[in-house]
Symmetry: C2
Subunit: 346 residues, 2 copies
Amino acid sequence: MSETTKKYTIAVIPGDGIGKEVTPWAQKALEKAAEGVAEFEYEHFDLGAERYLRDGAILPEEEEDRIKQTDAILLGAVGDPRIKAGILERGLLLKLRFDLDQYVNLRPSKLYRGVTSPLADPGDIDFVVVREGTEGLYCGAGGAVRRGTPNEVATEVSINTAYGVERVVRYAFRLAMKRKKHVTLVHKKNVLVNAGDMWQRIVDKVAEEYPEVSHDYLHIDATTIFMVSDPSRFDVILTDNLFGDIITDEAGAVVGGVGYSASGCINASDEYPSMFEPIHGSAPDIAGQNKANPTAAILSAAMLLHHLGFDDTAASIDAAVEADIEELGSTARSTDEVGRDILARM
Amino acid sequence: MSETTKKYTIAVIPGDGIGKEVTPWAQKALEKAAEGVAEFEYEHFDLGAERYLRDGAILPEEEEDRIKQTDAILLGAVGDPRIKAGILERGLLLKLRFDLDQYVNLRPSKLYRGVTSPLADPGDIDFVVVREGTEGLYCGAGGAVRRGTPNEVATEVSINTAYGVERVVRYAFRLAMKRKKHVTLVHKKNVLVNAGDMWQRIVDKVAEEYPEVSHDYLHIDATTIFMVSDPSRFDVILTDNLFGDIITDEAGAVVGGVGYSASGCINASDEYPSMFEPIHGSAPDIAGQNKANPTAAILSAAMLLHHLGFDDTAASIDAAVEADIEELGSTARSTDEVGRDILARM
Ligand SMILES: CC(C)[C@H](C(=O)O)[C@@H](O)C(=O)O
Ligand SMILES: CC(C)[C@H](C(=O)O)[C@@H](O)C(=O)O
């Protein structure tokens, strides 16, 4: 390694539940892949349920500032049944996505050879969901009056801006150019007429700059049907924050389980670090049992490398994962066994 | 039939696309089933795309008033690609659901013998989704500023009231008592904390009155996974307007296609007529080709009879449909052939 090699600092936030079991394997895969290629330093952050229960801290400003200084973030999972739903999700995970302006939530879905899909005839599934990450119903704009009374009214407000939509639409079309050149906008514009109409107009406008990319539109409800009946039809699915959350979990299921689905929360303008995480949650029911599949976390490490420009190094992880799944995907293995098996192939 | 037999007036709104092809079969099934049991009169309403294109009318007040006077409504489908998304959906379909206060959108999902599910191992699927029908993101509360400029902001507001939630929660628990006594609340309470928290509190409160009914909670994203990986786990799914829209389409897909899925938009207080419709849309791609499956529309007619208290008569339609599907479900047939076959069995 030359002396001028850039050093990269990676923030590691294992978080809760199985996040703590799979993230060490993602880091190990990163370390091994980076050997002789780049110098990576890891900064661990003790954030999540345990920390919150211990000292009430969710994401202290000083720690968030340090995270902002890193080059990328490896995250496990956030959420714990002992803590009221929303506190950690919004105070930690969504706060990072929003404060770090990670406006592209990139979620590839691929049916690996060796994985059994729950579908009888899944076809050749290989698409990417480009989910907007900083707007919509995730803004936290809502409230309640007369809480706890028979006259309570609770609202949730979806905020969508042309600025926020256009940048993610552009990302999707650029991505489609590198793939099968097809973008499917998913929304519910027959009901959410204000936001849906804006998304459609911006897609139509940006599409004019990409004459090679074809595009169509599907309602979110219809999309859940095609995801089961014909998932191989998709190339790039472009959608908002909530619909993206929903459709990527269904996509994870049809490619054999969210244990194989990685994601990147990308600040495509590189003002802040991007964050890489499996799309699965903290899975409290199997946490601490060395049962969780670390494949999605390891694939997230590959996405991180890819994002930092180390495409070949990222590809070495992807190849090890693919080979592992093809040979042993249907074998029951512990978290550590899968981790070791994948690393052994790298 | 005795002279005191009550006469029922049924509003028939075929609507758009395949709605016009399947609704006549629903009416024929109703007529045949009702013979000697009840006197039904049908009032046809020419509403939908054609009417709108002809004279600009969507749902004139005078016609809505007449609809309100009927005992039940048979609806086909609403939506036409020639008309901007939302105009007919909101002006006709949702307007009826809201003005007639049809707060329970009841959507049973059942895998019939003879139907091929896209799932390799579907199990014994038989659940009902109780979708709230008059609140949430469907209220039409939202807007846009600086439309068409780079500074556009578009909002959608989900309005949820304790009044509206509690009545549909009660309906779900009453229904569960007649079924397998399990209610699953589906929401996204880790993000939509105001509405989600209210739903959860009301469910917990009502559940105390139903000690025999167990209940649990799933996020909408996780639900889309279980819908594919383990749909037989569900009994009664209770959810809001938008999540109910999404999950029932996925459910329709896993039970072999929305061609078998009927629904009722129920005013459970009987102040206004309830409305029965297949959950599929107007399907412009196959409209006018005598291709659409009328089964869902015919099952909607059975739901209508059931709602009016003619349980045995409703059962006769259900039985004919079940027998038809079991014997001929996998045979390619035209709309009219399926309709004739089902009627022949009644
Ligand atoms: C944990 C939760 C807030 C999160 C989301 O809704 O975005 C998760 O479901 C995901 O998809 O990353
Ligand atoms: C047509 C549309 C407005 C409607 C809805 O979203 O409710 C449909 O999808 C349905 O499920 O009945």
